[in-house]
């Protein structure tokens, strides 16, 4: 079972994404900010990271930069933000994101993108 870490300070958003992913048989863990996300990733690396941009303590850009600087398997990361401006998207890719999605993400779209990034072609 593939493991996904959701890093987002909004509890409702975490729960929404968790329910979508668990219904599709992914094992999900949560972190409330970038620092907590890094701690969990260092304890046990994940297969995919779903990361918000605006978070206290360490934001999504900082989380990804730190994650990419670690001696860990380079798992794909999706950055999810409320911001649709192109400079945010560019910054996300520079920080190490593999994909940038704008909230709110519909369940089908999220699952399609997660499976594509994990090389899983099952429907």
């Amino acid at each position: 079972m593939k493991r996904v870490l959701i890093v987002d300070d909004a509890a409702t958003v975490r729960l929404y994404h968790r329910e979508i992913l668990e219904a599709a048989h992914f094992a999900v863990e949560e972190a409330m900010n970038g620092i907590e996300g890094l701690e969990k990733a260092l304890q046990s690396p994940f297969d995919l990271y779903l990361v918000d941009i605006n978070m206290p303590k360490l934001d999504g850009y900082g989380f990804l930069r730190e994650l990419r600087g670690q001696d860990l398997p380079q798992a794909p990361a999706i950055m999810i933000s409320t911001e649709a401006e192109s400079n945010d998207e560019q910054r996300a890719y520079v920080a190490g994101a593999n994909l940038y999605l704008v909230k709110p993400v519909k369940p089908d779209r999220l699952l399609t993108q997660v499976r594509l990034l994990l090389g899983d072609t099952h429907p």
Partner: protein, 208 residues
């Protein structure tokens, strides 16, 4: 015999920094000193100087060192005047997510100063600023928070602004929010996230 250079201790560096002039003019000059330790001390001690908010706000926008920014924010939060709050509002428009989050945290500590301007922020043309305004409400100890959130979900056209407000109403909402949450679900009937968040909030209303 070679010369051995001794490294100054943290205490001696601090002592040296504190030997700079401590009058307001001296502290203002130290706010742009190359040494971040000097800048931190200056930002802290400027709290006692009159009419200092504008200079601190100006420095806040330029300061690259996060530890110095934290002290400036603490000083501005302590001052809590209109200039300080206006400076924090400008940070909400920053491209830098860390600066935005620092400003949100600071503004949460200023319920009396922020309350008069929160409606303006919630009506800002930029939806991201409106989302940050909702984020400020999260820890703002003010009796009007629920009413402001209800106004947001009744009127705001942007799905993510409403999403942020619903998320918070799930924590602080009462039965007064019920009808607005039901109307929101109908207004965003094609948005699964809004339906999910509204249902969650409806189930958590304090006197539901």
């Amino acid at each position: 015999m070679g010369l051995i250079k001794t490294q100054p201790t943290v205490e001696s560096v601090t002592e040296e920094v504190r030997k700079h002039p401590r009058d307001c003019a001296g502290l203002l000059a130290q706010l742009i000193d190359p040494n971040p330790t000097v800048r931190r001390w200056a930002a802290r001690d400027l709290a006692d100087c009159p009419d200092i908010s504008a200079a601190l706000v100006e420095r806040l926008h330029q300061e690259a060192d996060i530890s110095v920014r934290e002290v400036i924010l603490t000083t501005l939060t302590g001052l809590g005047d209109a200039t300080s709050v206006a400076g924090l509002v400008e940070c909400l428009r920053s491209e830098d997510a860390a600066r935005r989050n620092e400003a949100i945290e600071a503004m949460r500590q200023l319920p009396d100063a922020v309350a008069p301007i929160i409606r303006g922020l919630l009506a800002d043309p930029d939806p991201d600023v409106r989302i940050f305004a909702v984020n400020i409400l999260e820890s703002l100890c003010h009796p009007e928070v629920e009413r402001w959130l209800i106004e947001v979900i009744d009127r705001d056209p942007h799905v993510n602004v409403c999403g942020a407000a619903v998320d918070l109403l799930g924590e602080v909402g009462s039965g007064a929010a019920r009808e607005s949450l039901l109307r929101l679900k109908a207004r965003f009937a094609n948005e699964p996230y809004i339906r999910f968040a509204a249902d969650l909030a409806l189930g958590r209303l304090r006197d539901a």
